[in-house]
Amino acid sequence: MAHRHPHLAALGFLVALVFAAVSLWVAVQSAREEPLPSLVWAPQVPPEAVFALGLPVRDQLADGWWWIEASPVQRTLLRSAGARIVVAMPTPVARMAGCSGDVMVNPAAPAPRI
């Protein structure tokens, strides 16, 4: 296969490298103890329930998407509360992805790190 289709093999190689890097990145992020900006998708969780968790909510987006600062334990809490996707990101990447980071949606929550 690889011998006959070098372009496909090259593409496969590049995709494998991307997969390896992303896996490494996720593994490193998961190992961190401190809170990180996390992209959360919780379409079936009412906003009140999310706010009730007391976590710093950076952005409340449409269709159940949130930016919430959360530690690994807090991300587990979010998942158990019904969130389907909870992905932590380094702050610069989170900002590139759209996390505003400056204004808290729930001012009662602890102060943000970024």
């Binding site: 070098p6 190689f13 490298l17 490193v28 380094p90 900002r95 590139m96 759209g98």
Partner: protein
């Protein structure tokens, strides 16, 4: 690249993969240094050396200079002792520089470790040496493809390793992150073993094996390295190619360093600027690979001419169109396609003109002009901004230089330098 094309042996596949990994690691780690500016140098950051940004910048300038000056020397060593030895040695020096930089708390020692050692290591274990190795070790039918893939993975390294490096810094601190990168580079000698030249059995349908990697038209127009250098510098086409690559370095360095502040001055957010640079990295992967493949099928000088001409068009369009996040991202994507796409046809042109025996050395000299161009681009950008309060002069200078580069490639003679038959060199 049809199925009628000769097959590659497993050993050559392994060589391509390991070479690509070396290039990716070196280019990715070297591109990650920007992440360390504040953690290493800021007097306010916890655990930093606190010697300030200026001292860090000097170390990086030394690193770039050492890379540029070291490239022809590394090339000469690769031509004499084999690329795999230089890749292995370069990787060890690179790793030593990374490790020792974590103990270099004063500006001078930091300049020696993170600057000089990493720069020398980069010239030995960087993607330039890998591409030159492909130019010497791959069968002619697969060289362009391998160089395209090598360029693409180096670009991918820039795109992937930087965020991973950032994650390491945030998770474990900058010293641990630097050491992890050092461990990664220390794997280079192992990977370099796959680039040892070898003779292969001739089996039906296996072309790679057919000619034995070593003798894959390892040709030269010169009997010695000195003669090869003399021939190259006495040949107008080599000067034209070198001049064109100077422009490449000028544009790349200027855009990398000065695009974010330029966009900031025009009211474009830092986030959009980051995305624009990310688009450059992403589309660079596609552009690098495509350039490798295309340079196998079409004239390399014309391909280079088109690349520089399109750079001029894209840059002029970016300057003339109303600035917006959309045009900024579009500029990033289009420049990404044209970013390192100059490398595969340039390496191949050197090989076409002077044979492959001294390819590493001669391309090293061409690359030195690239680094000088980068140095001038960054310096001129800062200087003229300070004098005029705007980057416009340098942007338009970049357009004019790109058109000039497109023109100077046209008269390049794309054939072996010596009108006589090239001298095949065994081993």
């Amino acid at each position: 690249m049809s199925s009628a094309r000769p097959k590659l042996s497993t050993a050559l596949w392994l060589m391509v993969i390991c070479g690509c990994l070396i290039g990716m690691l070196a280019f990715g780690f070297r591109s990650s240094f920007g992440l360390f500016v504040d953690p290493v140098s800021s007097p306010d950051a916890e655990g930093s050396f606190g010697f300030g940004r200026e001292a860090f910048a000097i170390a990086m300038a030394i690193q770039n200079l050492a890379w540029g000056v070291g490239q022809p020397i590394a090339g000469a060593l690769a031509d004499r002792y084999g690329p795999w030895r230089v890749l292995a040695g370069g990787g060890v020096i690179f790793a030593a520089g990374l490790f020792l930089s974590t103990m270099s708390s004063d500006p001078v020692s930091y300049s020696i470790t993170a600057g000089l050692l990493v720069g020398i290591g980069m010239s030995g274990a960087g993607h330039n040496t890998v591409l030159a190795a492909f130019g010497q070790l791959m069968p002619p039918e697969r060289r362009a493809w391998a160089m395209g893939l090598g360029t693409a993975t180096a670009s991918l390294g820039q795109f992937l390793v930087v965020p991973v490096g950032q994650a390491f810094i945030e998770a474990y601190g900058w010293m641990a992150a630097m050491m992890i990168m050092g461990v990664g580079m220390a794997s280079t000698p192992l990977l370099a073993l796959a680039l040892r030249p070898r003779k292969e059995k001739k089996t039906s349908g296996n072309v790679a094996a057919a000619a034995a990697a070593v003798s894959h038209s390892v040709t030269s127009t010169a009997a010695s390295l000195r003669e090869a250098i003399r021939q190259a510098f006495g040949h107008t086409s080599f000067w034209l190619l070198t001049a064109g690559f100077f422009v490449c370095g000028f544009q790349l360095a200027f855009v990398t360093v000065h695009l974010p502040p330029y966009l900031s001055d025009l009211g474009i957010s830092a986030r959009t600027a980051s995305w624009a640079l990310a688009m450059v990295g992403l589309f660079n992967v596609i552009g690098g690979y495509m350039a490798g493949v295309l340079s196998e099928r079409f004239s390399r000088r014309l391909l280079l001419s088109w690349i520089y001409f399109l750079r001029a068009v894209v840059t002029a369009g970016f300057l003339l169109l109303p600035i917006s996040p959309v045009t900024t991202l579009l500029f990033g994507a289009l420049m990404g396609l044209l970013w390192l796409s100059t490398v595969p046809p340039t390496v191949q042109l050197v090989g076409v003109m002077f044979g492959s025996k001294y390819l590493s050395t001669l391309f090293g000299f061409v690359f030195l002009s690239h680094q000088i161009g980068g140095f001038v681009g960054v310096l001129l950008g800062g200087y003229l901004f300070a004098r005029t309060g705007s980057y416009d002069v340098v942007w338009w200078m970049s357009v004019v230089l790109a058109v000039a580069a497109a023109i100077v490639h046209l008269p390049i003679r794309e054939r072996l330098f010596s009108p006589k038959v090239a001298v095949p060199v065994a081993g």
